[in-house]
């Protein structure tokens, strides 16, 4: 019993630690290290994004994507002309496909979606 009492007393003694005089300074040092880590992480993500963007842009240039888009525009125009010849009642489809706007709208939506996904991923990290 005396042993148990002593062990409880010892636990209390261990728990009674006086606040050190530089407690606030210590906490600020830890906060600074946290901030530094956070800033470094953001720079890393940003740098990775820039590198990824540059690689992506160069790949687009290499693969002649603009030429392909022009071809797709021509195809869309040809399709809309063909469809308007087939049926005069399909005016709405011609409006939709005119000038290859669909291609550009789809590309824009894809970019917005990718931006959204990227934002979520960065948020999760």
């Amino acid at each position: 019993m005396a042993e148990l009492d002593f062990e409880r007393r010892l636990e209390r003694l261990f728990a009674e630690l006086p606040e050190l005089p530089d407690a606030v300074a210590f906490a600020e040092r830890v906060e600074r290290r946290l901030d530094r880590g956070w800033t470094a992480r953001r720079w890393l993500i940003g740098a990775a994004g820039v590198v990824g963007g540059v690689i992506g842009a160069s790949q687009l240039m290499v693969s002649n994507v603009f030429q392909r888009v022009e071809t797709a525009e021509d195809s869309a125009r040809f399709l809309s002309t063909s469809v308007s010849h087939l049926s005069t009642s399909a005016d709405w489809m011609a409006a939709l496909t005119s000038g290859g706007a669909v291609v550009w709208v789809a590309a824009g939506l894809a970019v917005i979606m990718m931006g959204f996904v990227l934002t979520r991923v960065i948020g999760e990290i």
Partner: protein, 194 residues
Amino acid sequence: MPGSGHSRFASLHDVELCAYSATGERRAFGELVRRHGSAVRGVLRRMGAQGAEADDVAQDAFLTAFERIAEFRGEGTFAAWVKKIAARLYLRRLQRDRKLGALTAEAIEDEPETPRGDADAAIDLEEALKVLSATERLCVTMCFGAGLSHTEAAEALNLPLGTVKSHVKRGLEKLRARLAPEDGAVLEGRRGNG
């Protein structure tokens, strides 16, 4: 700027601060460090870490705690959780610096003399711990200060469970002789009668 937003979190409970910290709120975690930093540093000093070393390990322990805050389920107190992390980090540092083996090998033969305490004198724990050998101090502080079980301490120290229990027992006897000599006399009397 560190320290700003301090007042916003000062009134919150540890559990709420942990919840904020889990969302990445660093100022909330800073408030936890302000509250429990001294306790964590104190445990490390009692384990035998010197001032600057104790502070380094304590900082690392808090950074680790921030990274792993989602793992903290609130089953014990936040302070106890960080103390355990700090104790393990300190042991890892000792192992890395190859000091742990030397400390545990020194153990039994090379024990310091245990002076008898004066019941009337106000002897604090810090002074009492000085009469323990390095291993005994580590074991007792890990179990009573950092809240590790004997098994956890044995695993962290890489020592057999029985050895850790022996160190704790011997350490407690020395502390009792120092902090509560009257209890020791009672125990001796009981042993003599039994």
